[in-house]
Symmetry: C2
Subunit: 260 residues, 2 copies
């Protein structure tokens, strides 16, 4: 009988660096389609395209200056990522948001982020530490954006925030975990955006605390802090974002209007 593998966590699961099969992180491609995809994703994440909004080809074609086919391909991608939905025959729309979804999302994030972070710490390298220090520096230099900061500042902060969190887990050996973690992080960004717009609450410097725990290779503390970090954000959103609790948030503008 083959007793090649022990019952405990697979030996070699983390040793083997060979070719990974996990889904591509589409962002590094540079064809026209991917440009449109990138822009559109960013617009959804920043609620420029609002939750539940109908995505009409006419408007989009104008906005992104491209053809129907290209749009269709990009939209198709967004559906797979969960940022848009489609029903055959009646086009596309931005995915709705809801408290239930945010809670679900966040719980799974805690589950995955901690696993990923623990593994990253276990396999950390000098370069990894350097990128954490560097990305934290860039993040802290900007400071948490306030309600009336211009859009561009908020977007820049969003980028640096993601870069920092990506850096933390970069040395995790599981491509699949990394991939799903990243998708969930993006999903959460939509909710963070709402929080950023509405909240003025003060928070401790959680990113600093996490950074130091990680650099000290204190896995338990780091995971615990990261967990709190995620949970606090949920609390903050629940407390500060009006409309998120009762039914779908319609935070920006009413989604429908009707003629007189």
């Amino acid at each position: 009988m083959a007793k090649v593998l022990p019952a405990a966590p697979f030996e070699g699961a983390n040793e083997n660096l060979a070719a990974t099969t996990a889904p591509q992180d589409v962002s590094r491609e540079d064809a026209a389609t991917f440009d449109v995809l990138r822009k559109m994703r960013e617009d959804i994440l920043c609620c420029v395209l609002k939750p539940d909004q109908k995505l009409k080809f006419g408007e989009l074609r104008q906005r992104y200056d491209t053809s129907v086919g290209t749009l269709r391909e990009a939209l198709s991608h967004l559906v797979s990522e969960g940022l848009a939905r489609t029903e055959s025959g009646r086009g596309f729309q931005v995915s709705p948001i809801s408290l239930a979804d945010f809670l679900d999302l966040s719980e799974l994030r805690v589950y995955l982020e901690t696993k990923t972070l623990a593994d990253a710490i276990r396999h950390g390298t000098d370069a990894w530490e350097a990128e954490i220090v560097s990305s934290y520096f860039l993040l802290s230099k900007l400071g948490a954006p306030k309600q009336d900061d211009p859009l561009s500042v908020k977007q820049e902060w969003g980028k640096r925030h993601k870069r920092y969190h990506d850096a933390l887990v970069a040395t995790c050996r599981s491509p699949w975990s990394l991939h799903y973690r990243s998708e969930l992080f993006d999903q959460a960004r939509r909710y963070h955006w709402l929080t950023m717009i509405h909240s003025r609450l003060h928070r401790r410097n959680e990113h600093l605390e996490i950074r130091d725990a990680v650099l000290a290779r204190d896995s338990d503390l780091a995971c615990s802090l990261l967990e709190q970090h995620i949970r606090t954000t949920v609390e903050q959103a629940v407390a500060d974002v009006p409309g998120l609790i009762r039914g779908n948030a319609r935070v920006l503008k009413p989604g429908k209007r009707r003629k007189s």
Copy 2:
């Protein structure tokens, strides 16, 4: 200060049944594009389209009798799911497979499937139990396919196998967990297929054991059995599939040939 949510696992995360935002399970759509997508996914999962194979539009157009645009959209979906890859300017290809990937995949599956199953058991209903009984019955009626069973039998078994495993976790309250679980399950199907082709090993009736543990609502036992189920499959593949261990498996046919 808002103390709306406790620090422990979110209250209400599992209570709230409201609109979910998790990615659509694309399978229930019925437009032409989705037909092509379904067929193509099935072909990749069953290694009719082999790992690493170049996916040329000319051939595909003929095989699925459709236009380039439609194909492109379907392929785009498959890339998001991790079943295909693309590099700008040089088309699409079926994702490679490797031992490292299978190990990674399986480890994450254990992590997610057990969490999902535990939650499903916690919220099980009569209808849930009924579907488990029914889908198990259909699965057992077919028996594990052997090396020289015809393709159609293997495919039918694949369908019933998936239906059974889906049934187990159907009442899990976390749409996101369910979605990722399902994607990972499909990924694993590619490897199962190889095992099915090459192996004659006998296995205990693990599906029956799991079914009974689940119906008895013995969460710990059920999760443990499910974990073993996944791990045993890995062992079997490592033992029986030639070529999986050393580098990428090229199990079906050489991918390249050259003229004299």
